[in-house]
C-alpha cells in the first residue's frame, strides 16, 4: 500500500526522524493560512501517489499567502499527469505546505527488502534528489549498502559507516546514525516494504532533515497494521484496480484491447506475453485466484468489460482448485449482466474443462476455443 508524502512524514516524525515544519491542507484558504503562519514563504506540494509531480507543475515555492492561494486554486480538484500516471492522471485533493529550507547538501537514504540476502538493506548515496536507479546506472560505486542482521537489528556502527561514507561533518555523524536507526525502527515496526528519504537534506545550519519521503506498507501485513489502513487513499488508484482489490482479485489495467481472465499470477503474465507475441496488446493483468466462485469470476469479467478499450476477451484457465465450469459460468453471467457479446477466445484445461466448454458453447456468446497456447495466439490473429 502506498501512502502520501505527508503521511510518510507523520510516520517518520513519530519515530523521531526530523521533518520540515508544515501541515497538510485541503482548500486554497487553508493553504494560504498555513503559508501565513510559516511567515509568508513556503513550499506547496501536491499530494499524489506518483513520482515526477515537480516537473508536472505540482510543486511550487511561494513567497506570499496570495500566491499560494492562487496556486492551490489551480491544483485542488484537478488531475495531475506525470510520467508515472496514465494519460488521465491522478486527482489532487490535498496539498502539503512546508517551511522553506536552506540547503547545504542533498543526500539519498532508503531501506528496502533484499530477496537475495533475505534481509533489510540500507542504501545511501551523496546524489540526493536523483532517482537511485539513475545513480546505480551511472556511478554504482557511489552507492553505499549496509545489510542488517535481523537477529540483532540495526547497530549504530552501521549508521556511522554510512555517515562517514556520505562524508558528513563529524558533528553530523551521531545524528545521522540516530536518524538511520529511527528509520529502521519505523520500517520494521510498521511493516514497510520501502522507505525512502530523497532528498535527505543537510541544512545550512548543519542539521539533517527528511525533505521528501516515500513509504510503502507490505500489503500482506495490513492485518496487523490497522492504524495505517486509515491512510489508504483509493482515489489515487485506478478505479477498476481499487474495485478489484475489494473483491480480492489481482487486476492491473494496461492499455491494450484484449481483456484477460486467468487463474494464477504466473500464467496471467505468460498469457499477456502470448498476446504480445501474437502482435496484439493485453488490456489487463488479472489473476482471479485459486478459490474463486462463480460470483467472483463474474465480478472479474465485469471489471474487464468496464474498460472501454476491451474489444475481446481471452479466457485462460488451468483448472485445479478453481474448476473450469465455474470460470465459464462467470464469463456467461457477466456478459449477460452487461448486455454485451464480445469476441471470446477460451482455453480451458484441467478440472471440469468439458463442462466449462459446454457452458460457453450453449451460451450463445461469440466464442472460439483453443487447446494450446500456440492455438491461443492463432485465434488472436485470425
Amino acid at each position: 500500500m502506498k501512502v502520501h508524502e505527508y503521511q510518510a512524514k507523520s510516520i517518520l516524525a513519530e519515530y523521531g526522524v526530523p521533518t520540515p515544519n508544515g501541515s497538510v491542507a485541503t482548500t486554497s484558504k487553508e493553504v494560504s493560512s498555513v503559508v501565513n503562519s510559516l511567515g509568508g514563504k513556503a513550499v506547496v506540494k501536491a499530494q499524489v501517489h506518483a513520482g515526477g509531480r515537480g516537473k508536472a507543475g505540482g510543486v511550487k515555492l511561494v513567497s506570499s499567502p496570495e500566491e499560494a492561494e492562487s496556486f492551490a486554486e489551480g491544483l485542488i480538484g484537478k488531475q495531475i499527469v506525470t510520467f508515472q500516471t496514465g494519460p488521465e492522471g491522478v486527482p489532487v485533493e490535498k496539498l502539503l505546505v512546508e517551511e522553506t529550507i536552506g540547503v547545504e547538501r542533498e543526500l539519498y537514504l532508503a531501506i528496502v527488502v533484499d530477496g537475495s540476502t533475505k534481509r533489510h538493506v540500507i542504501i545511501a548515496s551523496q546524489s540526493g534528489g536523483m532517482e537511485i536507479e539513475e545513480v546505480a546506472a551511472a556511478t554504482p560505486e557511489k552507492i553505499l549498502r549496509v545489510i542488517v542482521d535481523p537477529n540483532v537489528g540495526y547497530q549504530a556502527y552501521q549508521g556511522r559507516r554510512i555517515a562517514y561514507g556520505l562524508e558528513l561533518d563529524q558533528s553530523q555523524v551521531r545524528p545521522a546514525a540516530d536518524l538511520i536507526g529511527n528509520l529502521y525502527k519505523a520500517f520494521v515496526e510498521r511493516d514497510c516494504s520501502l522507505a525512502e528519504i530523497n532528498p535527505l537534506v543537510v541544512t545550512s545550519e548543519g542539521n539533517l532533515l527528511a525533505v521528501d519521503a516515500k513509504i510503502n506498507i507490505d500489503d500482506d501485513a495490513m492485518f496487523r497494521q490497522q492504524a495505517l489502513e486509515e491512510m489508504r487513499d483509493s482515489s489515487q488508484e485506478d478505479q477498476l484496480e481499487a474495485e478489484a482489490t475489494t473483491y480480492d482479485i489481482s487486476y492491473v489495467k494496461l492499455d491494450g484491447d484484449v481483456g484477460c481472465l486467468v487463474n494464477g499470477a504466473g500464467l496471467a503474465m505468460a498469457t499477456m506475453d502470448i498476446i504480445l507475441a501474437a502482435g496484439a496488446k493485453p488490456a489487463n493483468f488479472l489473476d482471479v485466484g485459486g478459490s474463486a466462485d462463480v460470483e467472483k469470476c463474474t465480478k472479474a469479467v465485469e471489471i474487464i468489460l468496464a474498460d472501454s478499450n476491451v474489444s475481446r476477451i481471452l479466457v485462460n484457465i488451468f483448472g485445479g482448485i478453481l474448476s473450469c465450469d465455474t470460470a465459464a459460468q462467470g464469463v456467461v453471467d457477466a456478459c449477460k449482466n452487461k448486455g454485451v457479446n464480445p469476441k471470446l477466445v477460451a482455453r480451458l484445461l484441467g478440472s471440469n474443462a468439458d463442462e466449462g466448454k459446454k457452458i460457453l458453447e450453449n451460451s450463445g456468446l461469440n466464442v472460439s476455443f483453443a487447446d494450446t497456447l500456440t492455438e491461443v495466439a492463432e485465434r488472436l490473429t485470425e
Binding site: 500464467l267 503474465m269 488451468f318
Partner: protein, 295 residues
Amino acid sequence: MSILVDANTRVVVQGITGREGGNHARRCIEYGTNIVAGVTPGRGGTLWEDQVPVYNTVAQAVSDQQANVSLIFVPAPFAGDAILESADAGVGVVACITEGIPVRDMISIAEYLKHSSTQLIGPNCPGVITPGANCKVGIMPGNIHTAGNVGVVSRSGTLTYEAVQQLSTLGIGQSTCVGIGGDSVSGMSFVDVLQRFNDDEDTDMVVLIGEIGGTKEQEAAEFISSNMKKPVAGLVVGASAPPGKRMGHAGAIITGTAARASEKAKALASAGVVPIPTPADIGRIAQEIYSGMTK
C-alpha cells in the same frame, strides 16, 4: 532418485483439519503420497477421515510417525510459526503453500533457517512432486505429470502446470517439479534447486521458469555458467508488465532495470541457458534439447 521427495517421504500436513488442508491432503493420498500424520493444536489424539492420526505438535508427529516432510496450509498470520515448528522438530523438507505471509516474518524465518538443515519450499507456492515415486506434496493437479527425467523449477503455480502439461503431451516425463514460490523473500532459491538437479542421476535436463522482480534469475545464471553440467531451458514471463505495479505475486514488481524480464532473459542466455521464446514453446524447446542429447 529424484530430489527433495521420493518413495521414502513421510508427510505431516499442518492444518489437515482445515477445509483447504483437508481437500489437498485427500488428493495427495489419492496420488499415492504417504501422509502419515496431521497437526492441529487441540485435535491431538483424533483420526482425520478415519485414517490419518492427528497430533497437537509437529514434534510428536515426528517422534511417533517419523514424518520427514511437512506440508503447510496454515493461515498467513500463523504460517511463520508453523514453518519454524517443523524446522525445530527436525523435519527435512517443508513445503508452505500459504500465500500472504508478511515479509518481516519471512526475513526472521529465513535467518533461522540459515542455521538449520531444513529446506523450505515457498511460501506462496504449489509445492513439490516426484511423479516416479507417486509422491505429491502440494496442490498441483497430479494427473498432468508423468515420470521421466526433466527437472522443472519455477516461481509460479499454474504456469508450472502449463509447462508440465506441454512436456507430458510430448511424452517428456519429469523427475521432480519444484515451485519455489512467488514471494520476494522465500526459502529455496533457483540455485538451491539447480544444485540438487545437477547432482541427481534421474535428472537429465532442467526447465527453469522465472518472472519479473528481484534478481533470483541472475543468481541462477551465475550458478549455471560456472557449475551446471546439464542443459537448462529458461523462460522469463512478465515482459509486458508496467514498472512499479505488483503483478499478483508479491515479488513480481519491477523496481529496477535488473528486475525486468528482458534483463533476466539476457543473463540466462549468456550463461548458456537455451531461451524459450514464448510460454507456448516450453515443450518444444525441451524436446529439441532432449533429442539432441540422445543422438
